[in-house]
């Protein structure tokens, strides 16, 4: 499936580890969360090229101690209306300060592309149903956001009000 990053189609350098395959001597693999402990036990220290695939109904807090070891985390959309991955992305990217790639997979629409970017997703495994132009057009279909600390490059946020003392408690009429 095509992968979009930085508004371009890129080569997908990652492979999802098949069910019965061993992770030994592999690199550039994404392992299912359920097999993580097993894989990590065998994974050489300092070896990069590891990613984890996270179902959208698990608590991503369990990943926090291990995040530094992953170059990629993949999140899932079983259906486009199921928005759990937005919060998972936000938690990993913003709360846990994850610096690697967060990729969205599954059923999501171009109309959600901008929200995913704002939530911290920076890689997209898409079906070939929509052309690249259709996707990137939605990055800033609404070019302004009220969510100042979710903003991603290109989206305008409200300019700060003029500097000056503001009351400790809001002034009510």
């Amino acid at each position: 499936m095509p992968v979009i990053e930085n508004n371009r189609i890129v080569e997908d350098v990652w492979t999802h580890l098949e069910d019965r395959d061993s992770a030994r001597d592999r690199s550039m693999i994404i392992v299912p969360l359920a097999r993580l402990q097993e894989v990590l036990a065998d994974w050489p220290a300092g070896h990069r090229g590891l990613g984890v695939d996270v179902p959208n109904d698990v608590d991503v807090d369990q990943l926090t101690p291990h995040l530094a070891r992953f170059d990629i985390v993949t999140l899932n959309f079983p259906g486009f209306a199921d928005g759990r991955a937005f919060s998972q992305a936000r938690s990993i990217r913003h709360t846990d300060h994850y610096g690697g790639t967060i990729r969205a997979r599954g059923s999501f629409l171009p109309d959600q592309y901008g929200f995913l970017l704002q939530s911290g997703v920076d890689s997209f495994e898409v079906s070939d149903r929509f052309a690249l132009e259709e996707w990137i057009r939605h990055a800033d279909a609404v070019p302004a956001t009220y969510q100042r600390d979710y903003a991603t490059g290109g989206l305008a946020t409200r300019p700060f009000a003029e500097a000056g003392a503001w009351p400790e408690q809001p002034h009510y009429g």
């Binding site: 608590d59 486009f80 209306a81 199921d82 928005g83 759990r84 937005f86 919060s87 998972q88 936000r90 938690s91 913003h94 709360t95 629409l109 109309d111 959600q112 901008g114 929200f115 995913l116 704002q118 939530s119 929509f130 259709e134 279909a141 609404v142 070019p143 302004a144 956001t145 009220y146 969510q147 100042r148 600390d149 979710y150 305008a156 409200r158 300019p159 700060f160 009000a161 503001w166 009351p167 408690q169 809001p170 002034h171 009510y172 009429g173």
Partner: protein, 561 residues
């Protein structure tokens, strides 16, 4: 030449940022419609998109729900709502139980143009439907009520902006409704919302918010639990974010009828739910706090008080008319409320004519109220939860003229808060979800109780009618509630008693077996007559019910069967 210029009311005004936001949203919707029509996206994919712009498809046509943020609008906006009714609908609109307006006869091909027209007066239909955060509602008397601590609307506006096209919370398990009250007399029903916020002072005298979560109606009505007794205002948005994140992550998605946050709170238990929120709140970064305080200060400046005149509270002319004219006296008693500034009065326009369709407004009536607002209320109008309109700041000395003008428009029926002030969903006459009609029931009951003197004798009584178990008529919190169901293909009605959305919120209890369409109005009349027979001196309906329980009513309705 006299050029009439509408006064600019003291409410939030869009700046360039807000305007660019809403304009882009309309352009985006126009594009989504085009892609629906050329088949690029399916109806299943398009449906959530159009819902997020307030466009339903109902029984007869598309229905557009336009947001009236926290129920506040200017006369200029109200005039545009009238124009839209005339140009794109059948000359009328409907005030909803969440302070919005609905148009019943909209075409998809016109919708983007309507949204453009609305954007021109700083209005929109963003997120009035869909599994996202809906219109934040409040007390229709906000900024005017004598009993309020402070105007809650700056916080409502802060929440509105924060919740608009929120990237993380636009694909929730289900819809999400927030209500805010600035008064201890809760007219915003905060205890039956997904999140309710109640302004109050802590022991240090600082103003903050009680946070209530998990109230709601529908199939499983529940009263909210308190997750925070007192939250500093500066923490509001981060705290709300924490609640939303917990809900978004672990709210049920397996069953549409178990997907509201109230189910999550109920199933987890209040303590476990609160703990989850507090943990999320602690984890999340607080960098937005300073920003929020600045934002709130900026927003608050729009809500500065109008230029009050210094007036006497006692207006002899009004007092004389009160004595001399019974109808005026009745109207004052029911349709007006105490204003915090001496010499001013809050005035309600009743959209509940006896035998009429509750909450429907013709374009002519809308324009008339807009003109009244211009002349008498600083250009400001409110939509109430009871499907009426309010003129919040009328000089007491102008009351006779205002009454006369409302009367000429059929908007002065003296029934606000009384049994004639029926709250009714559109029901099977309009709604694709309904199982029974509600409006004809409302019409028959209001006709039976048309006598104003009788209504005043009965006293405060909230009667709510829902045409299906989704409870959009809020029947669970009616003092008398009516629920329309389908019984073997025929319309059938259940009565509940004792609901309340006020401070001591309660869910109404089913009284007994239901009634057919030709019996229900008579049954309600029997309930009211029973109350009149058993009440103690000065006791209102709800008090009598809470005092005596269902027994006298059951006996009156069922014993002879």
């Amino acid at each position: 030449m006299n050029v009439h210029v509408s006064p600019e009311p003291n409410m939030y005004r869009y700046d360039e940022f807000d305007r660019s936001f809403v304009d882009a949203r309309v352009a985006q919707f126009r594009d989504q419609v085009a892609r629906r029509l050329d088949g690029t996206i399916t109806e299943d994919e398009f449906k959530p998109m159009r819902l997020m712009n307030g466009l339903y498809h109902q029984l007869h046509a598309y229905m557009l729900r336009v947001a009236v943020p926290y129920g506040t609008m200017s006369s200029r906006q109200l005039n545009v709502l009238a124009d839209i009714a005339d140009k794109y609908d059948r000359g009328y609109g409907h005030w909803t139980t969440r302070q919005n307006i609905q148009y019943n006869w909209i075409k998809l091909e016109d919708t983007a143009d309507i949204l453009d027209r609305l954007a021109g007066v700083e209005m929109h239909a963003i997120q009035t439907s869909g599994n996202c955060i809906r219109n934040t509602t409040t007390d229709a008397y906000a900024g005017a009520a004598a009993d309020e601590l402070a105007d809650p609307r700056p916080v409502c506006e802060l929440i509105r902006q924060w919740s608009s096209l929120h990237p993380e919370f636009t694909y929730l398990p289900r819809k999400f409704k927030i209500a805010v009250t600035g008064s201890p007399n809760d007219r915003a029903a905060v205890r039956v919302h997904d999140i309710g916020l109640r302004m109050h002072l802590n022991e240090q005298g600082e103003r903050g918010w009680e946070v209530l979560v998990g109230g709601g109606q529908g199939r499983t009505p529940m009263v909210a639990v308190t997750v925070r007794d007192w939250l500093a205002e500066a923490d509001l948005l981060p705290y709300l974010t924490a609640v939303m994140r917990v809900y978004n992550l672990i709210g049920r998605r397996d069953n549409k009828y178990k997907a509201r946050i109230k189910i999550l709170v109920h199933e987890m238990g209040a303590e476990a739910f609160s703990a989850a929120v507090e943990k999320e709140f602690a984890d999340a970064q607080m960098e937005t706090v300073e920003v929020d305080a600045r934002e709130l200060a900026r927003i608050s400046s729009y809500f500065a008080a109008p230029a009050w005149e210094t007036l006497a509270a006692f207006v002899p002319e009004i007092e004389e008319k009160k004595l001399a004219d019974r109808e005026f006296r009745q109207w004052l008693a029911a349709n007006t409320a105490a204003h915090k500034v001496p010499g001013y009065t809050i005035v309600n326009a009743s959209f509940k004519p006896a035998g009429g369709i509750p909450g429907d407004a013709t374009s002519g009536q809308m324009r008339a109220v807009a003109a009244l607002a211009d002349k008498y209320s600083f250009g400001e109008v409110r939509v109430t939860h009871a499907q009426n309109l309010t003129l919040p700041h009328v000089r007491t000395s102008d009351l006779i003229e205002v009454w006369g003008e409302l009367n000429s428009q059929g908007l002065a029926e003296a029934n606000i808060g009384l049994i004639g002030d029926i709250i009714s969903c559109p029901g099977l006459d309009y709604c694709a979800l309904a199982t029974a009609r509600s409006i004809p029931v409302a019409q028959e009951i209001s006709t039976r109780f048309a006598d104003i003197k009788r209504q005043h004798d009965v006293g405060p009584l909230k009667l709510n009618i829902s045409g299906c178990i989704n409870a959009c008529g809020h029947h669970h919190v009616g003092h008398i509630g009516i629920l329309g169901v389908d019984k073997k293909g025929k319309e059938f009605y259940q009565i509940t008693l004792g609901g309340s959305s006020a401070e001591n919120a309660s869910i109404g209890k089913i009284l007994g077996p239901g009634f057919g369409a030709d019996e229900i109005a008579g049954a309600v009349e029997t309930v009211v007559d029973t109350y009149l027979n058993v009440r103690e001196q000065g006791e209102e309906f709800l008090q009598t019910y809470r005092h005596l329980g269902a027994a006298p009513f059951k006996e009156a309705l069922y014993a002879s069967h």
